[in-house]
């Protein structure tokens, strides 16, 4: 099959997915706070579920290998119904990006810049992400590939330094939590961060079909999970279980303890800078996919004109979200894990089932 214009290699795709998942994942460590040493099970559930859903979407997409995912939706579900279904994804993307933007802003305001207005930070974020979307997909992927080695180096260094502070065994005692609790933790970790990878199905046409695609997705999910596990367990070991459960940003607190020699402390600011970049990459990818979906759903001929309005929409949505101090926590633990099942599980399953029936007829005919 000849390579289409505008395609990226499967390694770049994997790197993009890894960066997308890793930016935000270690911020709150919500599941770790109540599952403690058994949290690896929740992460595994989240990873497995994400990979399964992506595999289903992949199977659907390869029935019509020369089409984009959006066109596959149209063929499988009919043009009208697929538009309705894609609107769910639009709402989902707005929710997730609002969550990410507000989380980043609340982190900065809690830790670094307490008096800076929320709007300024959100506006700066929105301008950056809109500029990124306007320069195009290849520029985004290239910048991720450029920034990733620095991120990996910094994180590896920090994890190594934290491991020297570990004084308790974070894996003990194992299996002390009920299956229901672990299931709930799995659901939470599927919502954040692993389930967000479902929207990458809309980028499948960028790398063509093939087994290497699923291999790169698996590698990215696995490595993101590994990083998350390493961060979580090192945090347990250095801070202690109780303090981890009480801290708002446990991984950040663990990084605060890193000391280089006698006097160089609190080097977390440098790591935060790099880590911020990757959270912003997540919002950039979300915004990019939103632009693709939006132009497809509303049949827009010139997508370039809508990049800035969509950026402003993103700013408006995140500015209006989570206005009360408890809203975000409540949303992350009670609302979102269930409401986001529709675009991340129900619709892909629907697409797979309906697609198997309808598309077989189409591709067979």
């Amino acid at each position: 099959m000849p390579a289409k214009q505008g395609q990226i290699t499967f390694t770049s795709f994997g790197c993009l997915l890894f960066s997308y998942l890793s930016g935000f994942s270690t911020l709150f460590l919500i599941e770790a706070k109540f599952l403690n040493q058994d949290v690896w099970m929740a992460y595994s559930i989240g990873m497995a579920l994400s990979f399964g859903i992506l595999w289903l979407l992949h199977r659907t997409q390869i029935r019509l290998p020369n089409l984009t995912m959006l066109e596959v939706f149209d063929h499988a579900l009919g043009k009208l119904f697929s538009r309705v279904v894609l609107c769910f994804y639009l709402v989902y993307l707005l929710e997730i990006q609002g969550d990410a933007s507000q989380a980043l802003t609340s982190f900065y305001r809690s830790v670094v810049l307490p008096n800076t207005p929320t709007n300024s930070i959100l506006l700066m974020l929105a301008l950056t992400t809109t500029y990124a979307v306007s320069v195009g997909f290849h520029a985004i992927v290239r910048s991720v590939l450029l920034a990733l080695p620095f991120f990996l180096l910094g994180i590896a260094f920090i994890l190594l330094m934290i491991s020297q502070d570990v004084h308790t065994n974070p894996f003990l005692p194992p299996f002390r939590h009920s299956a229901a609790l672990i299931g709930y933790g799995g659901l939470l970790s599927f919502f954040l961060p692993f389930g967000k990878s479902i929207v990458f199905c809309f980028l499948f046409d960028r790398i063509g079909s093939g087994r290497k695609k699923m291999a790169s997705i698996f590698a990215a999910l696995f490595l993101a999970g590994l990083y998350l596990c390493a961060a979580t367990y090192l945090t347990f070991g250095s801070l202690g279980m109780r303090l981890t459960s009480h801290s708002l940003f446990p991984f950040f607190s663990a990084i605060q303890l890193v000391k280089l020699g006698e006097y160089l402390e609190r080097i977390e600011i440098m790591i935060i800078g790099i880590w911020t970049l990757f959270t912003v990459f997540e919002i950039i990818v979300l915004q990019y996919i939103f632009v693709q979906l939006f132009t497809h759903v509303f049949r827009i001929q010139r997508p370039k004109w809508f990049v800035l309005p969509i950026g402003l929409l993103f700013f408006a949505i995140s500015e209006r979200s989570f206005r009360e101090v408890y809203d975000q926590d409540y949303y992350n633990s009670h609302i979102a894990p269930f409401s986001t099942l529709i675009p991340t599980v129900v619709i892909p399953l629907l697409l797979f089932v309906v697609g198997s029936i309808r598309l077989k007829r189409l591709s067979g005919a």
């Binding site: 670094v112 810049l113 500029y131 910048s143």
Partner: protein, 488 residues
């Protein structure tokens, strides 16, 4: 001076007359009659005496012609032309508009009665600079010749190094009034055909009045006019040109400019001087690491200082903090303003030193250092740490080999300082991200500016960070990988 678009007369006298009218009020225009014996106006030379080597013309051409004319001959014109052809390469011009242009190219034209055309022979006699040592791209071990303003000598330097017929050179005359000669060079089989065709088209279609420097050509072929980063490399060294040609790049030489343009180029090539090729790979890699560090220092130095000292005081070690406390006490300006004052002063000093006559250069630089260094600190205008930061930043920016890239980095420091003063590390991170995205979206005549990052093959990608030992390097030159187009 209007070119008369008409064919030439058969009569050489009429042609000379017409040419004299064209070059009226031009004191350099000279005519020499050859036909004293046979009668006037049988044949005559015309040239511009400031351009043509008159001595050579007289000795090699006119005297020989006169000698030949002394002997018995059958046909006057054949004799004259025979002598002319033996003197050098003769160009036959039959279009009137091309005659003045030929004169301006340091040519002498011969009008022969009865021939409706003109015979031109090039005899440049103006002085050009001799080939000297490079001023900007200096190195220890490599060759020491550099380009000069004479286009042909530049071309000869390249031909002496690349002795292959694969080297194509296409000439263009650009500029309706300057008639500047521009040559496009590339290696057949190494350069992408589409890119070569694109460049050829652009050069052929370029219209302007006067082409003085190759900046205009750079503006023509670059992809983005608004980007602060140069997308076309320039060099004054022939060896660098030859290396680029062998890597499948195109080179543009302009008459009158001692700098060659190289396209396409990537950001990493801007950071690697030719020095790296001539040293062993250990040293080359060590210096590359240093250069990467200085790149970051020159870009982020002042903004990092501002961010740390105004937002992130916890990151500064406590003993250093105490030293900062004592040095900053009593300084009236906020840190950002201090840094801005010092940076501006440094830029002023740098600009001034460019235009200083050599005689006073040394003393002014000492005065500048004294004023900025000691007096400003002691009078309490700025604090010592700021002076150190600014000095380090300035010195770091001098290590960047490409002058254009260094200039753009100097410029980009200021917005980053503003961002750091507003939002600390968040501002710096976002500013860096915008810069990174901009670099990733840039193209150099269609080739992505940070291209090798997404290329296949670890060797190619790695070679942009480190210089591999000879065994691991790919063969001579490499085709550019497929060019992704920017599709949002």
């Amino acid at each position: 001076m209007q070119q008369q678009a008409r064919p030439l007369h058969r009569s050489s006298a009429a042609n000379i007359q017409a040419l004299q009218e064209t070059f009226s009020d031009n004191a350099s225009f000279v005519t020499r009659d050859l036909s004293c014996r046979t009668g006037p106006d049988r044949a005559a030379f015309a040239y511009l005496d400031v351009l043509v080597d008159e001595k050579l013309l007289h000795q090699n051409v006119i005297r020989k012609m006169n000698e030949d004319l002394e002997l018995p001959y059958d046909q006057f014109d054949l004799k004259v032309l025979g002598s002319l052809y033996s003197a050098g390469k003769v160009e036959v011009i039959d279009d009137w508009s091309a005659v003045p242009e030929f004169l301006y190219q340091a040519g002498a034209v011969l009008f022969v009665d009865g021939h409706p055309c003109v015979y031109g022979i090039l005899m440049p006699g103006y002085d050009t600079r001799s080939i000297g040592e490079p001023k900007i791209e200096v190195n220890v071990r490599g060759p020491r010749d550099s380009f000069i303003e004479d286009h042909d000598k530049n071309l000869s330097m390249i031909y002496r190094r690349l002795k292959t017929s694969d080297l194509k050179s296409l000439s263009y005359i650009i500029g309706t009034q300057s008639r500047t000669k521009v040559t496009l060079l590339y290696m057949e089989g190494k350069m992408d055909r589409e890119l070569a065709a694109k460049l050829r088209r652009k050069l052929a279609d370029f219209q302007c009045d006067v082409l003085l420097a190759n900046t205009q050509i750079e503006e023509l072929i670059q992809d983005s006019a608004y980007s602060p980063f140069p997308q076309i490399a320039n060099t004054e060294r022939p060896d660098r040109v030859v290396t680029s040609l062998s890597r499948g790049k195109a080179v543009i030489l302009t008459d009158g400019t001692p700098i060659a343009l190289i396209a396409p180029t990537t950001f990493f090539e801007m950071l690697h001087p030719s020095e790296d090729m001539y040293e062993r790979f250990h040293f080359a890699n060590f210096i590359r690491i240093i250069r990467t560090i200085t790149l970051f220092i020159s870009l982020f130095g002042p903004s990092l200082y501002i961010a740390l000292t105004t937002f992130h005081l916890e990151m500064i070690p406590t003993p250093l903090m105490m030293a900062f406390l004592t040095s900053k006490a009593g300084i009236p300006f906020p840190t950002f303003v201090e840094a801005l004052i010092m940076e501006t002063a440094f830029e002023i000093l740098r600009e001034a030193s460019l235009r200083l006559p050599k005689v006073v250069g040394q003393s002014v630089s000492i005065v500048g250092a004294l004023i900025i260094g000691e007096a400003a600190v002691q009078s309490g205008i700025v604090s010592r740490p700021v002076v150190i930061v600014v000095a380090m930043t300035g010195i770091s920016s001098f290590t960047i080999p490409s002058f254009g890239t260094a200039l753009s980095i100097r410029l980009l420091r200021f917005p980053l300082m503003l961002l750091a003063s507003y939002a600390g590390v968040l501002g710096m991170a976002l500013g860096f991200l915008v810069l990174l995205l901009h670099l990733c979206s840039l193209h150099s005549i269609g080739v992505p500016y940070l291209n090798p990052i997404s290329a296949d093959g670890w060797k190619k990608t790695l070679q942009n960070y480190v210089r591999l030992p000879a065994r691991l390097r790919n063969g001579t030159g490499s085709r550019e990988p497929d060019y992704d187009k920017n599709i949002p």
